[in-house]
């Protein structure tokens, strides 16, 4: 029961032709666009597009809440519930449309001079999802001004600070969660933080402790814990345990886009690309999943790789065309490993580093700097890693190699 899935695979079956409407991506020599001109299908049964199925309980819930809100347009309680349901669903299937739907639901309150704190926190979640971290932080501060003990606001702020590498502030945010959020969330927040600052072993102990208490909790929460455990195990190079946790997480929330993509990265690193194709078979609608499919095709030297590269490029081109100024780690990996353009990748990685400083952001910057033969471009990331003490069996040796290159360059006459 794929929720939103392989639309792109339907496209791949189309006859080749000219594309009037999709821009060709920049650097790579692209093959002929895989799309034909606008056409009229001849068979009523031709599948054009997969969409969320009306039989999906979440879709039913969204429609129910939408009906309730239509009947009671002034209810901030229903609006907040509907917005949260849209955000969660969009996240789960890797589809940004739902963040827009959530924003529209909140819009009447956002226009008020002083929106309720719950609305500001939901809005901040949307902004964070779109990588507008400064805007998200501003809305969270407004919410905390109204409601200083709002645990969700503190937790979201901690997440934003963590993803931007401000671990000191994130530590403070985590402690504030305690006031109304309960100990488990504080510990999860702190454990997450510790995995980034050279205390992955403590992080693992804390997460294991909470996990032992969490059996009666909702699947979404337990899955989140398992995801954190998987990530922390990766920090420690314990691949076997990381895999156990990824699989547990996916058994709790199957088809969760975020988890599938993280597990796919794990499999790509472990040189198991064929399993990536199976894992993401029904997830190609999501751009993040599609990139991993294309990377797996590349690792397998698959004959249809050019087509996948073209589609990925067209999707990024569409993002640029619509005026999105988001350049994330996915685009760095696309430029580096599928377009084989290390200089473009390095430029993207440096811009991404200004916005995000999670381990993957450091990694793509180091990889791009090395590939472009510009170790000095990784200077900021190296300093950051030294300061924070990140443990990572892939990033640490990479950083050491680039550091050595920098030192030998400095010694050269």
């Amino acid at each position: 029961m794929g929720r939103v899935s392989a639309a792109a695979l339907a496209i791949l079956a189309m006859p080749l032709g000219s594309a009037a409407t999709v821009a060709t991506p920049g650097a790579a020599p692209a093959p002929a666009p895989p799309f034909q001109a606008p056409y009229t299908p001849t068979n009523d049964d031709t599948v054009l597009q997969e969409v969320p199925s009306a039989s999906d309980p979440v879709v039913r819930q969204m429609r129910l809440l939408r009906g309730k809100l239509d009947a009671d347009a002034g209810s901030v309680v229903i609006a907040e519930q509907l917005a949260q349901t849209y955000i969660d669903f969009g996240r789960q299937i890797g589809d940004a449309h739902y963040a827009g739907y959530a924003e529209a639901v909140l819009a009447p309150w956002l226009l008020q001079p002083s929106p309720p704190a719950v609305v500001l926190v939901e809005y901040a979640t949307i902004l964070q999802y779109r990588h507008q971290f400064a805007d998200a932080r501003r809305e969270l501060k407004r919410a905390l001004h109204l409601d200083p003990h709002n645990a969700q606001a503190w937790l979201t702020l901690a997440t934003v600070d963590m993803v931007q590498g401000d671990y000191e502030t994130a530590g403070h945010d985590c402690t504030q969660v305690a006031v109304s959020g309960g100990y488990a969330l504080v510990i999860a927040c702190t454990a997450n933080l510790r995995s980034y600052i050279g205390q992955a072993q403590q992080s693992l102990s804390l997460l294991t402790q909470i996990d032992g208490q969490a059996r009666a909790m909702p699947a979404g929460f337990r899955s989140w814990l398992q995801g954190l455990l998987a990530e922390t195990s990766e920090r420690l190079g314990d691949w076997a345990q990381a895999e156990v946790h990824y699989r547990k997480a996916l058994s709790l929330t199957p088809e969760d886009n975020f988890l599938m993509v993280a597990y796919a990265d794990f499999l790509l690193d472990r040189k198991r690309p064929a399993e990536v194709l199976t894992l993401l078979e029904n997830a190609s609608q999501s751009d993040t999943a599609f990139l991993r499919i294309a990377l797996a095709k590349s690792a397998l030297a698959s004959p249809d790789l050019p087509l996948y590269t073209w589609i990925m490029g067209a999707r990024f081109a569409a993002l640029k065309e619509r005026g999105s100024d988001y350049f994330g780690r996915e685009q760095v990996r696309f430029a580096l490993y599928l377009q084989h353009d290390p200089h473009a990748a390095l430029d993207l990685a440096q811009r991404n580093w200004e916005v995000q400083r999670a381990p993957w952001d450091a990694r793509v910057l180091l990889e791009a700097a090395q590939a472009a033969g510009q170790p000095q471009a990784a200077f900021a990331a190296l300093a950051f890693l030294r300061k924070t003490g990140l443990q990572d069996p892939i990033i640490e040796p990479l950083a050491r190699r680039i550091d050595a290159e920098l030192k030998s360059a400095a010694l050269a006459p």
Binding site: Y39, L48, Q49, D56, D95, L155, G181, W224, S324
Partner: protein, 177 residues
């Protein structure tokens, strides 16, 4: 452990915590593609040919194209909803030339595939006054339900090509013909 659970977990927050894992994704949001080609004339009406590609995913959210709810829009379902698609789309666009509304006549629909899925391609002609020099476009598609929707707009007039990205804060644009 039973009595400690309340202390340990705030049930309302555990879902939120899980949602925080959603960081760091690239994603397709809602786009439509509107291309206008103006044929200016000094003696008769200025005719503007239009092609408007609108994602079936977006149309399904508003118009529920997937009649049998199986999670797939087939051609037969879209065909049945073509009038609803046209009514919805054309009620969300106004084209004016030199301040006077142009008459929009739909000329057909087809299917157009983009990198992120299938789109309904709406073809139309807009009949504007003779010797028009200024074109105004007022575009409101999906903004009410999704403020992150963008209309990627191209205007061709003779050798000139103008482009714009239409958004809630840039919904009305004026261009010389």
């Amino acid at each position: 452990m039973r009595q400690s659970r309340g202390l340990w977990f705030d049930a309302a927050l555990v879902g939120i915590a899980a949602a925080l894992a959603s960081l760091a994704q690239a994603h397709s949001a809602s786009d439509a593609y509107l291309t206008l080609t103006a044929q200016n004339s000094t003696v008769s009406d200025t005719v503007v040919h239009g092609q408007w590609d609108i994602a079936l995913r977006d149309l399904d959210f508003v118009l529920k194209l997937d009649d049998n709810g199986d999670g797939r829009i087939v051609w037969g379902e879209l065909r049945k909803h073509q009038k609803a698609v046209a009514d919805y789309a054309y009620s969300n666009i106004v084209i004016m030339a030199d301040g006077k509304a142009c008459r929009i006549e739909p000329t057909g629909q087809a299917v157009d595939n983009h990198a992120d899925g299938a789109y309904a391609a709406l073809f139309f002609d807009a009949f504007c006054g003779a010797a028009a020099s200024q074109l105004t476009l007022d575009y409101r598609l999906f903004f009410r339900i999704d403020p992150s929707h963008r209309g990627v707009f191209v205007l061709r007039s003779g050798a000139k090509v103008a482009t714009a990205v239409l958004s809630p804060v840039n919904a009305r644009i004026e261009l010389g013909l």
